[in-house]
Symmetry: C2
């Protein structure tokens, strides 16, 4: 009893401090040895808005660091990029938790505490094109299981991934979120748009458009004529554009990954719901990943750390 | 001799004043009865930068208007849009010079001179999607001939057009130019780019990428990794992106128009050369349209004007 209590209580070695630190957000987790989240910190302190990473980390996690002097500390995401705290070389695919954990980059904080950075993944296609991710690999590890899984992690740079028995075989990035933002804000399409509330009918019309002849650059013009001919109210044009973009992403990914009958959607609730809606329109069944995928992945990687 | 001289000389009725007035440019032509350009005015006075259209027209063309009191005056382009001088309803396709000339909108300038605006064209696909053009119809009329022609008029909003015996059957807009500008300037892709000099090898690699699996939103990411992994120098990334965009436009248009063996490219010399290069890479033969397509079209429409 006493031994068990010691190993999970304060000053024990079975806690883990995990940080998912991206370009625009900071999410830290204090976890027990089974990966259950005991405490968390979330802030808008993404790497683009932070100058002193060490101070920022101490500010959010210093208390945990002091309370659990033997807890491993693991950081994933863009914090390991050239613009981050320590640049971590990419780990080439195929890769699973073993390969990733074997390539952690160690570093000491200004207070002398050892921390480890998770590498991002790279993949080179047969045609010689490179693809990369940083941070998503940890979420993928967190939700991967037995057998073949096709996953999408929607976002500014959506990632589609093929995972077999927990190993990431290959993946493809789609610039959907950035494309949507740039087209909405910086082209003629945005001029007729008012608001961005979700209109399911316009969104589905956009997805349907993506299946017609002509391709994305042509389908985009429907947002213009849809407004010009008042076929859609101005407040629905954003959903129409979103449907066209996500429809093209899914169709492109389907080409890429061949027969994926069932797609695991891993991401925030709103965007995950949108993708599930789009996948259903295109006849693909979906499953939604558990929350805190990154925390689960950090815990799985920590299990494999050699101290 | 005297009669001929009178009909083509000053104060005769056989001259024509034609204006191709778009969003960012103003091009005016004084032509003889055979459509030959006798004089011209070009200025950056597009409709977006002009407040008083009447004064701008008089400023550039007032001398011609005075010198040729019986010359018809014809204006085409965005000057006939809601944001222009007089809004002209679209003429539905199929339409040739006859239909377009029958739908001119007349107007009197502040000095009481009659002018006529050329309507843009609209087309509705079988799926119910609308497409529109304003200004390009006049260029198309200017270069159309006998038989079937597939044309591209490259630009911010590229137009692909199927013309049979001088009648425009259908067309499709591709937002290629605006897309390229928005992605270069307002996404992460632009951060690694330096300059925009043409690199034919990177441009062709972009066109080749457009044929691979995954679609445009995925292929875009190659501009990022191409820079990240130093596969292309920073100054070539703009050409890579341009090749990806134009490659997707051409592939989309080919789907749309089926078997076009030979494409007529109508536009400015630099962009026309780029499109000819891309079409050749994709195995399509090309022909370059004559210069001053708009002037030729205005002359052809003027021939059909009823006074």
């Amino acid at each position: 009893m006493t031994a068990v209590k010691q190993s999970t209580g304060p000053r024990g070695s079975k806690q883990l401090i995990g940080v998912d630190w991206g370009t625009t957000s900071f999410r830290a987790y204090l976890m027990d040895e089974r990966g259950r989240v005991l405490d968390r910190r979330e802030a808008a302190d993404g790497i683009l808005s932070v100058e002193d990473f060490d101070a920022c980390f101490e500010n959010h996690c210093g208390l945990w660091v002091d309370s659990y002097p033997r807890a491993p500390i693991l950081l994933s995401g863009m914090i390991g990029s050239r613009q981050g705290w320590v640049e971590v070389p990419y780990c080439p695919c195929p890769a699973g938790a073993e390969e990733i954990a074997a390539r952690l980059t160690r570093h000491a904080t200004s207070r002398g505490r050892q921390i480890a950075f998770v590498p991002g993944l790279s993949w080179r296609s047969t045609s010689g094109a490179d693809d990369v991710m940083r941070g998503e690999e940890t979420q993928i590890i967190g939700v991967s299981g037995a057998g073949r899984q096709v996953m999408v992690l929607p976002g500014s740079h959506s990632k589609w991934v093929e995972v077999v028995d927990g190993r990431i075989l290959r993946f493809a990035t789609f610039l959907t979120g950035e494309f949507f933002a740039a087209m909405s804000k910086h082209t003629i399409l945005g001029r007729l748009m008012t608001g961005d509330a979700h209109d399911a009918r316009a969104f589905e019309a956009g997805i349907a458009a993506s299946a017609e002849a002509g391709g994305l650059l042509h389908h985009l013009f429907r947002v213009r004529t849809g407004g010009l001919f008042s076929r859609w109210p101005a407040e629905s044009l954003s959903s129409l554009l979103s449907g066209i973009a996500i429809g093209h992403e899914i169709r492109g990914a389907r080409d890429f990954f061949g027969g994926a009958e069932r797609v695991l959607v891993v991401g925030g609730a709103t965007l995950a719901a949108r993708y599930a809606e789009a996948l259903a329109v295109l006849g693909l069944s979906t499953e939604t990943g558990p929350p805190d995928a990154a925390a689960r992945g950090l815990a799985r990687l920590a299990e494999r750390m050699t101290s």
